[in-house]
Symmetry: C2
Subunit: 208 residues, 2 copies
DNA sequence: ACGCTTTCGCTACGAGTCGTAGCGTAACTG
DNA sequence: CAGTTACGCTACGACTCGTAGCGAAAGCGT
C-alpha cells in the first residue's frame, strides 16, 4: 500500500483492481502453500496478471506479504463494552481471531523473521501493522482513565512506557499462545489473561 | 539431534564431530545470511562436509535450523536468587540474552512460521525448545509455593493451566519486545514486566 | 587378517525458481 | 493526435534444490 504517489499524473494509471487481486491471491497462496513454497510466479498466475507487473509494484516476496497480511488487521477496532476488562477482552478476541487464520499464521511470523535482518522491512511492518494495533492500547488506556478505572497517566513519558509494556505483553501472549503453544486463545483464556493483566496494572499503579 | 539410534551397530559410525560442525556452521550462516538466503550447500561448505552428508542426517532446512537453534537454549537454567521476583527476573534476562543473538532471531521465528503448516516440525520445536523453557516455569512455581510467596497449587489441572498462561505471557512478551518492537528487553523492562506479572498472579490467586 | 556394512566426499544431473530485459499493445492526458 | 506510462508476454542466465552413482574410508565380527 504505497498510497502516496504525488507524481505520475500522466500516462496509463495503475490498475487498482490489480492491486486488490494480487493481495487477495497472495493470501490465498499463503493458505495453500505457506510462506516458503509461495512463489511470485504463482501469485501472478492466481491474480491473473503478469509476473512483471508484480515486480513493478513490490520489490520482493517480503514486502508483498507484509501488505497482504496488513489488510487482515484493518478490521481491528476498540469496542465499547462498558468496562475496561470487557473492552480488553473484546479487542484481544478480535486479535486472536485474526491470528487464527492460516494466512496470518504463515505470513506474519515469516516476515517478522525476515525483518530481523532488514530495517526497511521492519519499518514497513511497524507502520502498516504494529502501530495500528498499538493505537488501540493508547485509546483503551485513555478511556479507562476517563472512566476512573485506572488512575490518570502521570506524565506522557511514563504513559508511553506503560503502553509499550502492555502492548508487548498482550500481543506477545496471544501470538505465543496461538503459534508456539498452538492452543486456542479462546474466551476462557482471554478472560484469565485480562484478569492477571488488570490486577497487575492496578497494583503497579499503587506502588509506583 | 536424533539421539535414539538403537539400530546400526555395525558399519562405519557417523561422525559426531560432523554433527557439531554442521550445527555450528548453520548458526554462523544464520548470522551472516539470515533464514531466507541460507542454503544447505553453503552450510555444508562451511562445515567442511559434503552436501550429501547433510541430507543423510536432516530432511531439510527446517529441521536443521531447529536443532541448531535449540542448542542455544541449553544454557537456560533457573537461578536461585532468594526471592520469586529475583528468580523470574534472572531467568527472563537469560532468555532475553539468547533472543538478542542474531542467529536466534532470524532462525527461531522462521521455523515457528514454517511449523504452522507442518505438525511434525511443530512437535520437534516443542520437544527440543519449548518444553525445556516451560519446565523452568513449573520449577519456579513450585519453589515459590515452598517459600510461601504464592499459595500452593490447588489441583494439578489448574496448576498446569496457570503455568501455560504464565509461560505464554512471559515468553511471548520477551519475543514480542525483542523481535517486533525491536527494543531491548533490559533490566528495567524486565523489572516492570515481573512486577506486573507478580501482582497480577497474587491478585488472581486471592479472587479465584 | 579378512570380509561385511555403513558412512563419507565427490561429481553430475533434471527440475524448478529468481529477477530482468525487450517488445508490442493498451490506457489515459493535454 | 502525440506523448507517456502501465500492461501482458516471452525468453534468458544464474542459482538452488534434492537425488543418484561411484570409489574410498572406517569400524565390527569371525
Amino acid at each position: 500500500m504505497q498510497s502516496s504517489t504525488p507524481a505520475a499524473r500522466t500516462g496509463r494509471p495503475r490498475s487498482a483492481a490489480a492491486d486488490a487481486a494480487i493481495l487477495e491471491a497472495t493470501r490465498e497462496a499463503l493458505v495453500e502453500l505457506g510462506w516458503s513454497k509461495l512463489t511470485l510466479s504463482d501469485v501472478a498466475t492466481r491474480a491473473g496478471v503478469a509476473k512483471t507487473t508484480l515486480y513493478r509494484r513490490w520489490s520482493g516476496k517480503n514486502e508483498l506479504v507484509v501488505d497482504a497480511v496488513a489488510e487482515l488487521f484493518d478490521e481491528l477496532e476498540l469496542p465499547d463494552r462498558g468496562s475496561l476488562a470487557a473492552d480488553i477482552e473484546g479487542v484481544v478476541l478480535q486479535f486472536a481471531a485474526i491470528l487464527d487464520r492460516p494466512e496470518a499464521q504463515s505470513g506474519l511470523m515469516a516476515v517478522v523473521a525476515e525483518s530481523t535482518r532488514d530495517d526497511a522491512l521492519r519499518e514497513r511492518i511497524r507502520t502498516s501493522i504494529v502501530d495500528r494495533q498499538k493505537r488501540l492500547v493508547l485509546e483503551g488506556r485513555a478511556r479507562a482513565a476517563a472512566r476512573g478505572e485506572l488512575p490518570p497517566e502521570p506524565d506522557p513519558d511514563a504513559a508511553s512506557h506503560e503502553a509499550d509494556l502492555i502492548f508487548d505483553v498482550v500481543a506477545g501472549a496471544v501470538v505465543h499462545r496461538t503459534l508456539v503453544s498452538a492452543r486456542p486463545a479462546d474466551e476462557e483464556w482471554v478472560r484469565d489473561l485480562t484478569r492477571v493483566l488488570l490486577l497487575g496494572l492496578a497494583g503497579a499503579a499503587h506502588t509506583s
